[in-house]
């Protein structure tokens, strides 16, 4: 169990990057970017986990129960929010690109010089 979560992180990252590289539709590419971002959540939470510990909420347990790292969870929360914002902006760009160039194929859009 020592490194299995981190291998899964590398797998998700690679699979997402493969999707971005070989995509033929801008919205499909954006969803693959979401997959890439999700690998970082798993990495953050995997780093902060402690075997046998509980969640860092002490409303019903004593303060001395071993808990997982809360700072890493705060970072992951911010990460999720930023993912939503970036996705919204990228989708607006995709709509505008379709309006101007009539196509959503990234391999055709590359040929337009501005």
């Amino acid at each position: 169990m020592g490194v299995f979560p981190f291998i899964v992180v590398a797998w998700i990252l690679t699979v997402g990057l493969y999707g971005i590289v070989t995509s033929r539709h801008l919205v499909h590419q954006i969803v693959c970017l979401i997959v890439v971002q999700s690998s970082t959540y798993v990495l953050l939470l995997g780093v902060g986990y402690r075997r046998g510990a509980a969640a860092p909420y002490f409303s019903d347990v004593s303060v001395h129960t071993p808990a997982v790292d809360p700072v890493v969870q705060a970072l992951a929360l911010t990460d999720v929010v930023v993912e939503a914002a970036v996705t919204a902006l990228l989708l607006a760009f995709a709509v505008q690109a379709h309006k101007r160039f009539g196509t959503l194929d990234p391999q055709e859009l590359v040929q337009f010089k501005g």
Partner: protein, 235 residues
């Protein structure tokens, strides 16, 4: 660059990335053996210092409140960016809103969807409000509460009541609520400076018991302002 060459270049790059990543993995302490001191220190002192039993929210809104302020402004900037990118270009006219589905065969919204959506609006509103106001005690927080509140409005839209949706979410009020949320967060921080403390210090009375809803001072206020900030970008 044709697709086959693109694929091979990617595989070569991915192999290099994998090699470096595996090399870095050997330096990790392994899954489950969390060594670092920072998390343990925060867990030990957070409840005593802030009277908040939800340590993640305490970290988000007090110990690292500046980062959360930056995150709120990322949301703000994204909302502004979307409205700028999707603006009316020269040569386009805004057509009056007409029912474009007349020439498409759309199935009418099924009764089951309408009923379930309308029934769920009330509980969703209550749930969103509960999440937004309980950031300091249990898993919840301003952002999650805000998105659930926005979902309540979207449920009205899904139920097919588009005219009611237009009336309960006027654009001007949404813009005002979003600005109030972002400004409120910054203002709470500035009011700490006005009292001679560092920016964003928690200066309100901490409340009587750990875990009470009115405890933990500015954490509750900041959570509320971030809750009023998140529905607008979703609309």
């Amino acid at each position: 660059m044709n697709p086959a060459v693109r694929r091979w270049v990617f595989l070569a790059g991915a192999a290099g990335l994998a090699a470096f990543y595996l090399w870095g993995l050997t330096g990790l302490p392994g899954f489950g053996n969390y060594p670092g001191p920072y998390g343990d220190i925060i867990n030990r002192i957070a409840v005593a210092q802030t009277n908040a039993t939800g340590v993640v929210s305490a970290v988000n809104f007090e110990y690292r409140a500046f980062d959360t302020l930056g995150e709120e402004f990322i949301l703000f900037a994204a909302a502004v960016g979307v409205s700028v990118v999707l603006r009316r270009l020269r040569g386009e006219r805004e057509r009056p809103a007409r029912d474009e589905s007349m020439d498409r065969n759309l199935a009418p919204t099924s009764d089951a969807v309408r009923m379930v959506s309308l029934v769920l609006v009330g509980p969703t509103l209550v749930m969103g409000w509960y999440l937004a106001s309980h950031a300091q005690t249990s898993p919840s927080g301003g952002f999650q509460g805000g998105v659930v509140l926005a979902t309540a409005f979207i449920l009205v839209f899904l139920a097919g009541e588009f005219l009611i949706f237009e009336r309960i979410s006027p654009l001007a009020a949404i813009d005002a609520a979003e600005a109030a949320g972002a400004g409120g967060f910054a203002a709470i921080g500035v009011s700490a400076v006005a009292m001679g403390l560092p920016y964003l210090t928690n200066f309100l009375p901490l409340g009587s018991r750990p875990g009470a809803v009115s405890s933990s001072g500015t954490i509750a206020l900041i959570s509320f302002s971030s809750a009023s900030k998140s529905p607008p970008p979703s609309s």
